[in-house]
């Protein structure tokens, strides 16, 4: 099985026609499903949050079979992810896509677990500490995209689980938990 670093690529990745957007509806639906799953899987294991459709991304080509996804195909797959709520376009031109391999609500749940696991129920910490502090190491929160983190935190704020406040500089936003 072909690998991309540690990641095991699925068999369809080695079959040339999967790199061409299929015209027949049923065949295309299957193709889109396979690619959606692959993108989410890969982003989750590699902890990638933003994909640029016009940039080099390992899944866009397979040099072994000498095939590359057309822009149309890329847009089709990512649009499907967006329709399903597993991704969001970051620009009107659909050039950058935010990948939600965890939905925002799920991230909110992960943050709550993180708080409980570390006894932070009444603590104060910076947003940066949540995503890169010592306690975050080894958890999914480590290295989380800041935009996603802020949105998850806002959901929790609306639920009264915490309060977000500005710090001394733009980078110094903090959180007071009341879990």
């Amino acid at each position: 099985m072909q690998k991309l670093g540690d990641f095991k690529l699925p068999h369809f990745f080695n079959y040339p026609p999967y790199f061409t957007l299929q015209p027949v509806r049923e065949t295309r639906e299957k193709q889109v499903q396979l690619w959606k799953d692959l993108i989410l899987d890969y982003c989750r294991t590699q902890k990638l949050f933003i994909i640029g459709l016009e940039e080099e991304f390992p899944l866009f080509s397979n040099p072994v079979i000498e095939r590359t996804l057309s822009h149309e195909a890329r847009e089709a797959f990512f649009s499907a992810l967006v329709s399903e709520g597993r991704a969001e376009w970051l620009d009107k031109g659909h050039r950058k896509c935010l990948i939600l391999w965890h939905r925002i609500q799920d991230w909110a749940g992960i943050i709550l677990n993180f708080v409980k696991d570390n006894g932070f129920e009444d603590s104060v910490m910076t947003v940066e500490e949540i995503r890169s502090g010592i306690e975050s190491r080894g958890t999914e929160l480590h290295g989380i995209d800041r935009t996603i983190l802020m949105r998850a935190l806002k959901i929790l704020e609306q639920k009264g689980k915490l309060a977000i406040f500005k710090g001394t500089s733009a980078d110094d936003e903090g959180v007071k938990f009341s879990v």
Binding site: P16, T27, I65
Partner: protein, 205 residues
Amino acid sequence: MRRRPGIGGLQTAAAARDQYRLLGENVAKLRTDLMKEQLATFRSQLEEFARKHKTGVQIVEICLSTRPLNGGLIDLQELCKLLRQKRKHDREAVSEDDCLRAISKLKTLGSGFEVISAGKKKLVRSVPTELKKDHNEILELAQAQGYVTVDEVERRLSWTHGRAIDALDTLLDEGLAMIDDGHSDGKRRYWFPCVSSISSFGADS
């Protein structure tokens, strides 16, 4: 003079009723016993059927699960390989002949299962799509590299462009073929998953 039942008559009647009741009970018991026996026989026959046709059931499962990938046509060897993987823990090994026998039994169920020959390969069809001779010839041609181009079909089979396109479009619509526009030579290729090994697609040569 009206005869009225006397003690004797009553006793006779009671005895008769008892006897009828016993008879009734016996008949009921007989029927229950018979039914139990029939059910037991039926059940063991059903179990034997399931055991004998376990292979057939597994074949159906494999064909159904691979249908989205190959349009309902699968290489017999590929099918046997997947069957062996499914039955890893089964002591009974399964040969191609076992497969063919199971499929012919499935065929009698009218489920649309059929084994067709295309060139050197045997393909198992699990959808009611009728393959015309033209389609069969393309499948045969596709076995060499897993795909064909329109040029190739025209040239090798001596067909007109229209005939080639018609046949390929039908195979495409049926989900038996997939298009590939990614080759550097710019020629569209029609790939046929059913003549490739689904579990290990090879590279284009």
